[in-house]
């Protein structure tokens, strides 16, 4: 366990100093601060627009940060030869991969934590709506599980795919899993759909991760969604995320264990 923690800590230290990630975080924070100004541009309820916009910024920036952070993680270690000094020590490859992953989501957690603070300040202090602010934090919490899942997909793919391809592939999986999941799921369950299309829909809705289930807070995406038992829903979503992450990491470990570095 000690090597995993050591590698995770080093990964956090490096991630929070990566300029490209800090720039993304900076832009997201600025956008969060100017978000209230955009409410006046819409005819819809100012609060609804603001909520949707804030969650959208957090989700989009976190997704870009999660993908950028993880797709280069393993290739960089190989390119800089750091991996050799580490793997020549009593560190198993699965420990290395797990340490990198945990470090990545810890760094992501810190960055999302900062965005959560900004959101809380935004709604609690500026808008005087602490209730909404805390409600949004729950939404960001679900996004964190979503991003951890996304990072595990990127991490798994990074064990055998070049970073740039991985960036677009993971991004594509995220888009389909977020925006197209419900469509593919209903298509899969449609008895009148053509065989090939149904098989494709089954593949997408079964194999690809369901990122959409973590967007319950965003009324702009799911305006008509009604959750009967929110607690149970959240627990199920977290369990689904943890199981999927575990599968992705085990897959990544098995591939990485056999890979020549």
């Amino acid at each position: 366990m000690k090597p995993i923690i050591a590698i995770a800590k080093a990964t956090v230290g490096e991630a929070i100093r990566r300029r490209v990630l800090l720039i993304m975080l900076f832009i997201a924070t600025i956008l969060l601060f100017v978000a209230p100004l955009l409410g006046v541009l819409s005819q819809r309820s100012e609060q609804t627009v603001l909520t949707g916009f804030v969650l959208g910024i957090v989700q989009l920036s976190s997704a870009v940060i999660a993908i950028t952070l993880t797709v280069y993680m393993l290739p960089n270690e190989v390119e800089r030869r750091t991996i050799y000094t580490i793997l020549s020590k009593p560190v198993q490859r699965y420990q290395f991969l797990l340490g990198k992953y945990l470090g990545a989501i810890a760094a992501l957690g810190l960055m999302m934590g900062l965005m959560s603070c900004v959101t809380l300040v935004e709604f609690g202090i500026i808008q005087h709506n602490w209730g909404k602010g805390i409600e949004l934090l729950q939404g960001i919490g679900m996004f964190f599980v979503q991003m951890s899942l996304l990072a595990s997909v990127a991490m798994c793919l990074s064990t055998f795919i070049a970073p740039l391809v991985n960036f677009f592939l993971t991004g594509g999986i995220y888009l389909i899993g977020t925006l197209g999941y419900a469509f593919f799921d209903s298509f899969n369950k449609n008895p009148n759909a053509p065989g090939f299309s149904k098989a494709l829909a089954w593949f997408v809705s079964t194999i690809l991760p369901n990122f959409a289930s973590y967007n319950v807070q965003n009324k702009l995406i799911n305006p008509d969604s009604v959750i009967v038992d929110p607690v149970q829903y959240h627990i199920n979503a977290v369990i689904y995320g943890v199981v999927y992450i575990t599968i992705m990491l085990i897959g990544g470990m098995l591939i990485f264990d056999r890979r020549e570095v």
């Binding site: 230290g13 020549s88 009593p90």
Partner: protein
Amino acid sequence: MAAAIETKKLTKSYKSKAHGMVDVVSQLDLHVEEGEIFGFLGPNGAGKTTTIKMLLSIIEPSAGEGYVLGKELGDFDVHKIISYVPERPYYYEYMTGMEILKFYGSLFGITDTARMDMLLEKVNLHRDKTKTISQFSKGMQQRIGLAQALINDPKLLFLDEPTGGLDPIAHREIRDLILGFREEGRTVFISSHELSEVELICDRVAIINHGVIARQGKLTELLKGGRVELSVTGVQRGFFEAMKLNDSNIHETASGLLFDVPEEADINSIIDGVRAHKGAITGVVPRKKRLEDLFVETVNAKNQGDNRI
């Protein structure tokens, strides 16, 4: 003496689209004794780094077998008593020298900061222990690399180009540290292009070319075959020709003759002969065979398909 590294027909092959299966390292028989500094030489792409990766169990051999400190390749336990410093190593730049040692120490479960202080002092970085790696010069980075490699008190160190790209002062510092490792009883396996450096510090060397060991042995034995140049006046060319010495050359110079003979020739007899014929010896210059000569000769011979070596 026990072997620190022993390989038997160790081979690593990769699939190439153009050439099918290609042996990057082929039938490698390597023998490194405990407590020696072993130089592993070869041109770029000869298979040096692939060999090191196999010995470190970072990659698996395609065929053959190997033992590191008596344990078969792939035995995880051996990682506790070996260390590796790669060529141009990168360390997390935001960390200080002390933090680097703490990081690598934690991979072994080592938390002894007194030992870390001692190692920083050993590599002469104790005054810079609060500087981050990004503030380190190349030489300092190489020294912190050696310090991290010593964190587990290894019996065997693998150093890949330890002096590559360093200035003469840093060269000297690294060389002294490596020589110190031998005095401490550690085995050092050095992969290097710096032939003059290797010649100064290594006990034995192996030259690998196109994945095959071309030469291996004690440096003193491999470097036999130097020449001696005798500058002579007062005797004629025919005097030396009459000696019928194998592999000798006679050159005319402004002041007389230059007689170039193998170092194993009986120099005293030649000198006595010159004096007996009223000649004079004006100079005796031994031309030692250099590792660079051996290296070039070996690599060229192999490239030309000469398998006599």
